[in-house]
Amino acid sequence: MSVFLLPDVGEGLVEAEIVSWKVAVGDVVTLNQPLVEIETAKAIVELPSPYAGTVTTLHGAVGDVIEVGHPLVDFDGGDAGESAPPLETPAAPPAAEPAESAESTKSSAAERTPVLVGYGVSPDRARRRRHHTPAPAAAPAPAPAPAAPAAGARGPLVPRTTPPVRLYARQHGVDLETLTGSGRDGIITRADVEQALRAPVPAPAPAPTRATPLGPTRFAGHEIAGWDEGPREERIAVRGVARAMAEAMTASAFSAPHAAAWVRVDATKTMELVAALRERPAFAPLRISPLLIVALALCDGARHFPGINSSFDAASGEVIVRRQVNLGIAVASSRGLLVPNVKGADRMSPAELAAALTGTIDRARTATSTPDEMLHTTLTITNVGPFHVDGAVPILPPGTGAIVAVGQIARRPWVVGDAVVPRETVDLSMAFDHRQIDGALASAFLAHVGQFLEDPAPAMIAP
């Protein structure tokens, strides 16, 4: 049996009304013999028979409306040589379809939207989507996120960073959503990822990769090529923050005679205090770290030994003693070393100082410190502990009397009574301007700071 489906004759036809039948059931018709007159939205059209054979069924009576692609006439004995489904007709048996995969997606004429000059508009193809299956990746899958990030109504924001850092983080299994960006506009930098990789509680170790070990390649304010990639010798222009650092350090090193002192202290109680403060609701929004206690200790030391908070004015032959601590914090920013300060740190409560330090450090990391923050430092902390060193001999910021380097706080053997016990210890090393500060003053100040850290709670309460 052959079936003639009402074709889309491209006339704006989605359906047609049967106007008159030109044949009856039982008639033997020839190819192209008129079968039926139909009225479309546009015109009355006579349809010629695509088959030669006997009419067995007429689908519909005069006045009925037939949809395009639906059966119109059935034939018996349709000559195969003279009949074929339209190129676009769905009723074709699958076997008649060409073998090519592209062909098997041919859509139904019945479903096409008619147009003026063609078969009509294709309906959307049936979905047969298979997901793209990439070849096994060389890089390991990223480590699972340890904690769900804050999510807005439409889900968490994509961590903002550049593609090379994204790749670096993925290669090393660092989840960017767990990081806070220190770059411009809060962008996560390569340094942030590197810091996360050094964190004491690292993400699950990534599987070994082919990647060459990627160390810090920032130098003199530039991203420089790795050992194997770069030229044998390279000259880099020193500009911006890097140049400012060079000039300040040179000016300081060759004008102020530097001397140094250091002390090792048991900071176990300091660490306990930090932990306790972190539990207190009032401190909850603040970033509480041992640095806060060190800052409080320096302010307390300056209060007891004002000569430390001083500077030497060679031009006038005077020493300037300041009774306000503008506490400088050395910060490795995306653009290089910056030393902003917290004005009047000595007059702040622990909570106020914690807040002020957090703001100052964050602005410096994103290189958005205010000009005022960069001026009139009197006393400075440089926190080298995060870089996994125990101490350093820093150079004074110009115009200041002392700078204290705080080493890494770690459990080390410590003699208590006659026993060697593990304690959280830290080394404090201090450089000072020997023009106005002598060894005695420096030692007394540093010892005071050390004692403050050995037992900070009473010291914070004491006048």
Binding site: F4, L5, P7, D8, V9, G10, E11, L31, N32, K42, A43, V45, E46, L47, P48, P50, G81, E82, A84, P86, L87, E88, T89, P98, E100, S101, A102, E103, S104, K106, A109, L116, V117, G118, Y119, R128, R129, R130, H132, T133
Partner: protein, 354 residues
Amino acid sequence: MGGEELIQLLTPEGERCQHDDYESTLTRDEILGFYRDMVIVRRLCNEATSLQRQGQLALWAPLQGQEAAQIGAGRALAPQDFAFPSYREHGVAWTRGVPPADMARIFRATVTGGWDPRRYRYSLPTVVLGDQTLHAVGYAMGIQRDGADEAVMVFFGDGASSQGDVMESFVWAASFQAPVVFVLQNNQWAISEPTSLQTRIPLYHRADGFGFPGVRVDGNDVLAMYEVTRRALDRARAGEGPTLIEAFTYRMGAHTTSDDPTRYRVEADVEVWRHRDPVERVKALLARSHRVRTARFAEIAEEADALALALREDVLAMDAPPATEMFDDVYAEPHPWVEEGRRTLSAFLTEVAP
């Protein structure tokens, strides 16, 4: 019909008539051959229209009524000449030897061309109206530079005559005296717009303004069409420049199978032209003056039916090409963006294929 200057050598009734400048020198067999051509192209055209009504072609542009204009002009072409069609010139294509199935390919929408134009010395259908007139003039300029004994014929319609490219082609053909014959089939209708919207003067008069001869021929008279176009081609080959020939005829059918002419013209007008049928008048001439027997006409009709059936079989057998055919022949030399597309589609088909 057509005015006093209409060149006619055969009346609608099939009587020969005299013209001061033109005379038919055709033999009985040649005329019978033209008759056969016209019967066959009409039959092929009917088959194609049926195939479209049966959903086998996306579109068809019927030529009914214009058989004499196309066969007369097409048969006047010498083998070495080159012709440029618009999109309704199935009759000219037939005279150039283009297989009927190849004519149908573009309407089956399995290709965008259909045949090798250099093989048949017959270019591809041009749907952007009038563009081909400039190609014809350029090709003719090439003939001039080759010093070849060839001419070019280009077909367009009354609608296309309003196109700027057609005007430009007239300017260029005149300025360079290019060996080109413009055959303007004025079938009175540009889809629904009558010729009166395209022109306020007879279209062949336009040639005067450009500086070359223009004539109006009874486009339904195959004898006149042949003689006038043959002389124009001779003129072109002789280096005497272009000619505009307005074949005054009528589009008996719809513009295409997607058109409904009952919306813009009345049946009575069509009926007038039915009496001027280009095929019937030749049949009358052959039967009356050349004593061609009824059996011979029947043979020709059978031959036409067979060709129509063959066209049907060829059309039904025409499959869509592999999808990646779209990347073939876009450029003469490989282009990376095309090849990138080929790789992407191939990968997609491979991954999504069952």
